[in-house]
C-alpha cells in the first residue's frame, strides 16, 4: 500500500496546486480515501519529528523544514529525557478525577505546535509543525503507521535502539514533503 500511496501522493499533489478547504476529518479516523488525505496535506509544514522509546530514550530525530533551532544530538537526548518525565507528571496533576488521564498531547508556543502521540506500548511520537497546521492527528497517526511498517518489520532494526532504517526515512520524507 505504501508504494501505491507514494505514487498517488505525488501525482495528486501537483494536480491540485490550490489547497481546497482542509478535509474535515474526525479526530481519530483518517479521511477515507488516500487521495483526499494527500490533497489537503499538500501544504503541510512539519518542522521536525522525534520518536522516544518507552523509557524516554530518543531513538529518532529528523528536521524537515526550517523553523526550529538546530540542536546538538546531545541536546536532543536531554530534551527527550526531560519531556518523558514531564509527560508522566502532566497526567498526575490532572484536576479531573477520571483515573485514565493521558499525558500531554498538544503543546503550543508562539512559533510552533507540537503533537505528542503516546502509543499503548509507551512509544512517543512528537511532531513539530507550524502553529496553524490543521489536524496534526492525521499526520502523527501516519508516522506511526510508517514506523510500524518500515521500522518494526525491518529485521535489521533492534527494538528500543536508535532507528537507522533507510526505508523509514525515505517513506517519511515522501509523506511529509511530497512535492519536493
Amino acid at each position: 500500500m505504501a508504494k501505491k500511496e507514494q505514487a498517488s501522493c505525488s501525482s495528486t499533489a501537483n494536480l491540485q496546486p490550490t489547497l481546497s478547504q482542509p478535509h474535515p476529518s474526525a479526530a481519530s479516523a483518517a479521511p477515507a480515501s488516500p487521495q483526499a488525505r494527500f490533497r489537503y496535506l499538500a501544504t503541510m509544514v512539519v518542522y521536525a519529528v522525534l520518536i522516544l522509546n518507552k523509557a524516554g530514550g530518543l531513538i529518532y530525530q529528523r528536521d524537515f523544514n526550517p523553523g526550529l533551532q538546530k540542536l546538538s544530538s546531545n541536546d536532543y537526548l536531554i530534551l527527550a529525557g526531560t519531556f518523558h518525565g514531564v509527560h508522566a507528571i502532566t497526567s498526575q496533576i490532572s484536576p479531573t478525577n477520571d483515573s485514565a488521564s493521558s499525558g500531554l498531547e498538544v503543546l503550543e508556543s508562539e512559533n510552533f505546535v507540537m503533537r505528542c502521540f503516546q502509543t499503548l506500548t509507551g512509544t512517543k511520537f512528537l511532531v513539530f509543525a507550524e502553529p496553524r497546521q490543521p489536524n496534526l492527528d492525521v499526520v502523527v497517526r501516519r508516522v506511526y503507521e510508517l514506523y510500524a511498517d518500515y521500522v518494526m518489520k525491518n529485521p535489521f532494526y533492534q527494538i528500543e535502539m536508535p532507528i537507522r532504517s533507510e526505508g523509514f526515512d525515505r517513506h517519511l520524507t515522501s509523506y511529509i514533503k511530497p512535492h519536493q
Binding site: A2, K3, D149, Y150, K153, N154, P155, F156, Y157, R164, S165, E166, G167, F168, R170
Partner: protein
C-alpha cells in the same frame, strides 16, 4: 549445498485405506501417524482450497524478518546469510513447483527450452506466488549462460532496510532459492543470485541473475540444432 528432502512428506502422497481403530484412524500400514476421526485430514481436503486465499502481508513480513534474524545469528558474513535464505527459498520453491504443476493438470507443459522455463517462472510462477508478473526477463549479452529476471519491489524486501555495513546483502536470495528450485525441478540446473539494482523510481529493485550449468547449454544447442 545438500538438498536432502525435508522431513515433511509432500501432500501429494495420498493414501486411502482406513482400518477401524478405536481412537485414531491409522490410514495405512506403512505409517503409524495418528489422524483424528472427526476432523478431515489434509488428504481429505481439496488441494485447491487455499489457491486464492490470502493472509496479511504484515504476517509474512514479520515471519520473514524473524527468519532472517534467526539465520543471521547462525552465520558470519553476507554470503552465508544469502545461502541460508536461498536454502529456505529452495524448500518453498520445491513445493510450489509441485503445487502449480498439479494445478495445471493436463495443460501443464513440460518446458524443454531455456526461454520456455524462464517465461514460465517470470509469468505463471511469479503471478501464482507474488500476485504479479516479474518486471523484466533479459539475456546477458556477454555470456550466453546467464539470464536476468528483475522485480521492481520484491515483496520480501518491502520493509527491509539493509544497514550500510552489509550493503551487498539482498534478502531476495530467498526468491532466488525459489527460482533455483523450480529450475532444478525442470532439469535446468542453475545458480541464482539476487542483486540490488535500484533506479530512481524503484530503490528496492532487485535482479535475479541465473547462471545455467554447462550441460543445460549443451542440451539447448542440440535441441536448437536438430
Amino acid at each position: 549445498m545438500n538438498r536432502d528432502p525435508s522431513p515433511f512428506r509432500t501432500a501429494s502422497t495420498a493414501s486411502t485405506a482406513t482400518s477401524p481403530t478405536p481412537k485414531y484412524a491409522n490410514l495405512t500400514a506403512s505409517t503409524n501417524l495418528r489422524y483424528s476421526l472427526t476432523r478431515k485430514s489434509i488428504y481429505d481436503r481439496h488441494l485447491n482450497r487455499t489457491k486464492t486465499s490470502e493472509l496479511s502481508k504484515s504476517a509474512f513480513a514479520f515471519l520473514f524478518g524473524e527468519m532472517v534474524q534467526y539465520a543471521q545469528k547462525k552465520v558470519y558474513g553476507v554470503q552465508d546469510l544469502e545461502k541460508k535464505l536461498n536454502l529456505h527459498g529452495y524448500a518453498v520453491g520445491q513445493r510450489f513447483l509441485e503445487l502449480l504443476l498439479w494445478r495445471d493438470g493436463r495443460t501443464a507443459k513440460r518446458e524443454t527450452r531455456i526461454l520456455g522455463i524462464l517465461q514460465f517462472i517470470s509469468h505463471q510462477l511469479y503471478r501464482a506466488i507474488f500476485q504479479k508478473q516479474a518486471d523484466t526477463l533479459e539475456k546477458v549479452r556477454e555470456n550466453d549462460d546467464e539470464y536476468m529476471i528483475s522485480d521492481n519491489d520484491p515483496v520480501v524486501n518491502t520493509y527491509i532496510s539493509v544497514p550500510k555495513e552489509m550493503s551487498q546483502l539482498n534478502c531476495g536470495a530467498f526468491i532466488a532459492g525459489i527460482i533455483e528450485a523450480v529450475l532444478d525441478g525442470h532439469c535446468f540446473p542453475a545458480k541464482v543470485t539476487a542483486h540490488t539494482a535500484p533506479n530512481e523510481m524503484w530503490p528496492g529493485r532487485t535482479v535475479f541473475l541465473i547462471k545455467f550449468e554447462p550441460e543445460v547449454l549443451e542440451r539447448e544447442a542440440l535441441r536448437v540444432g536438430s
